[in-house]
Structure formats: structure tokens, C-alpha cells
Symmetry: C2
Subunit: 80 residues, 2 copies
């Protein structure tokens, strides 16, 4: 089963990468660009075949390794 | 309008970050972990209010800055 863990900086946490991309987009001539937030997406192929179990594994992976839960939030989705 | 650009390494392109995370997960005791791919997700708040126009802007941003289209593929989604 494929599990997708999306990790984003929590609202209010400074996102220098997002700021830099925002400035670069403006310099390229893109107008009307507001806030830019950059996160990471981790796509995992798991041997687990049960969707709920796969989600639980993804959540555990996010808490223990993939996300720094002090400054990041995560979302786990399961694809058949 | 909110535009989400997800950028992933193209299939077949070496993903050392994904490999490193895969090893780390195994070391933490997670079994049955197959391939791990890591990409980035860019969330942009645009002044544009038309969904199709916002998607086109996101595609243009991806091609010109957010994705290295030689080794990365991108997907653009628009959220109301």
C-alpha cells in the first residue's frame, strides 16, 4: 500500500525557504503572490495491505522521524 | 486562491534522500518499508480568483522555478 505523508511548517513558524521562493517568483515577474509555504512530501511503499494499519504506520513514522512536531504539522493519506 | 504545487523526483532518478529515510525507518524498527520517495510541496496564496487562471499560473511557476523538469515532475492542484 502507498502512504503519502505531507509535512508542512506550522502556521506562525517562520518559513525562510517560502519567503525566498516568494521573492524569486516576484523577481520573475509573477504578480499577486501572497504567502508561500514550503513543505515536504514523503511517498512510502509499504508491504502492509490494510488501509487503516498502513495509515497508523504512516502516523507513527511521521511522529518518530518524518516531522519535527514542535514546528511542523503532518497529514497522512493512503493510496490503494 | 490557494495553489498547491507538488514536485517529485521522476521515476528512475536516484533519490538519496528517500534512501536515507528508508534506512532510518528500518533502523527504527519499521518493517515492510519498500521504496521511499521524497519531494516538496509548495503552497501559494495567489490574488488570482479564477481557478483555471490560478492553475495556469501554478504550472508556469513550476516550469520556470519550482521544478527542475529534467529530473522532477510536478502536479498542480487548486484549492478554493
Amino acid at each position: 500500500m502507498r502512504v503519502v505523508v505531507t509535512v508542512m511548517p506550522k502556521p506562525g513558524v517562520l518559513d525562510p525557504q517560502g519567503r525566498a521562493v516568494g521573492h524569486a517568483l516576484s523577481n520573475l515577474g509573477f504578480a499577486g503572490v501572497g504567502e508561500v509555504r514550503i513543505g515536504k512530501v514523503v511517498v512510502l511503499d509499504l508491504a502492509e495491505t490494510d488501509a487503516d494499519a498502513a495509515r497508523a504506520i504512516g502516523e507513527d513514522m511521521a511522529r518518530r522521524l518524518l516531522a519535527n512536531t514542535v514546528i511542523e504539522s503532518y497529514r497522512v493519506t493512503v493510496e490503494a
